[in-house]
Amino acid sequence: MALLSCRHVCFAYESSHVCENIDFEINEGDYLCIVGENGAGKSTLIKGLLGLKAPCSGKIIRSPELRGNEIGYLPQQTSTQSDFPAGVFEVVLSGCLNSLGPRPFYRKKDRDKALSSLEKLGILNLKDCCYRELSGGQQQRVLLARALCSTKKLLLLDEPFAGLDPLVTADLYSLIEHINRDMGISVIMVSHDIKGVVKYASHILHLKTVQIFFGKTEDYLKSDIGSRFLGGQADD
């Protein structure tokens, strides 16, 4: 059974539809990229997948393994965080919040989980650093470690490369690939970087208010839409 599937889903804000007739599914081990121009409804779809916005029609079905909000999420960076006084470990630990239930405080188990996800991403040495003093790429790694704390199955990344330079972007790509391949965590990612995306992703979902493509990356490259979108980007 699919981890997450959308069946004819529509989203609307105050009666105007922002995305319509979305129909796709993601299975274990998939690496799905959602592409499309600004205002194509990508962010709205992410909100829907996280259960923060109810679809106005259609259905989003989560497999039983994803119950209890077991989705790791990497939101777009907000301006507040840039001057926020927080330790790296504090931030990563907050990813364990969804497994606490009604308990008010973290257990040893949660601290260990936070440490191990820092280790998996190779940033154990940043544990005692101050979050706001890190570089953009390091901050993204920390947030990725936090997301790993809250999931075993599925990671949702919203524009993880925004504001990063090409070298750091490449680093982050291989890190995400590592998470996907070696840890067996499925990935759904929204990105503007179409060239990078087709290199790494196994599936592509192209939105333009309506869904205009969903399928394997190879098929996307052969399709009309895919080659036009890729070509268009090259002209920029």
Binding site: L50, T80, G87, E90, V91, S94, P104, Y106
Partner: protein, 274 residues
């Protein structure tokens, strides 16, 4: 100095002022860290001005000030948060409307009943003599409630303060905690406003948090540091107020300003050294 402090404690009103002041200062500092970082400090300001209106109306109608103000202030805190979310009127403009509006209503209520007098002055700038025995008990109970709530929810409060989108996505009920913070703020402001003054109480929320942020790099340290600063400032403010016969609220805020400047300097030097 010791003589002075001994003298202070020989007055019952000073003991009451300390019993009310210390827990209020603690609560204000803890909540303040979250409010400042969430860019919600204007809510504290709006609520304190609103408190002036409510207090004046309560006195004009001959009602018990605290018992009347607390529920109304909690409603106002709800309303302010809601307005921020709906964003038809932007948050800062909405706060300005509520601040000035309730100030005007309060002044009208006073002039139509008792007339502008010494009471108005003490509402605005605080009075050390304001606390009765009943107030002390009510304050102690409510502020310990706020403190316990803050400690129990500490990890959630950190999560929603740092990244509300993530907290919400991973199943934290962010609205619930936002309301808890707003309600706690309302209660803290009501408890403190007659001693500190409605115009100055929001300084207790903002200053300790900002001072602590100059030098601390971890959220937990900021919270602890802000709490300590806040209590020290309150106590030294009370001593100054007693010794120089200055208004309590203003004395406390002045000490807070001195701390803020000192911590800013320390933070600046620290960043230069590293």
């Amino acid at each position: 100095m010791i003589e002075l402090i001994k003298g202070m404690f020989s007055f019952n009103f000073m003991v009451r002022a300390i019993l009310v002041g210390v827990p209020v200062a603690l609560c204000a500092a803890l909540l303040g860290v979250s409010l400042v970082l969430k860019r919600y400090s204007m809510i504290g300001d709006g609520l304190s001005h609103f408190g002036f209106g409510v207090l004046s109306v309560a006195v004009a109608l001959n009602l018990a000030p605290l018992a009347f103000s607390i529920p109304i202030m909690i409603l106002a805190a709800f309303a302010l948060l809601r307005i921020r979310e709906s964003s038809k009127i932007k948050g800062d403009a909405a706060t300005a409307i509520i601040s000035t509006g309730s100030l005007a209503v309060g002044i009208m209520a006073i002039s139509l009943s008792t007339g502008i007098n010494a009471d108005v002055y003490s509402y605005m700038f605080g009075s050390i003599l304001a606390m009765s025995k009943g107030d002390v008990w009510l304050s102690l109970c409510l502020s310990s409630l706020v403190l316990i709530l803050f400690i129990v929810c500490y990890n959630r409060i950190f999560a929603i303060t740092f990244d509300e989108a993530f907290a919400q996505a991973t199943g934290t009920r962010t609205n619930l905690y936002n309301f808890l913070i707003a309600i706690s703020t309302a209660i803290t402001i009501v408890l403190g406003m007659r001693m500190i003054g409605t115009l100055l109480i929001s300084a207790l929320i903002v200053f300790p948090a900002l001072s602590a942020m100059r030098i601390c790099k971890r959220f937990k340290n900021v919270v602890i540091c802000a709490a300590v600063i806040s209590v020290i400032c309150l106590l030294s403010g009370l001593v100054i107020s007693y010794a120089l016969a200055t208004p309590t609220g203003a004395s406390i805020v002045v000490v807070n300003i001195i701390f803020f400047i000192a911590f800013s300097l320390a933070g600046f030097i620290k960043s230069r050294v590293n």
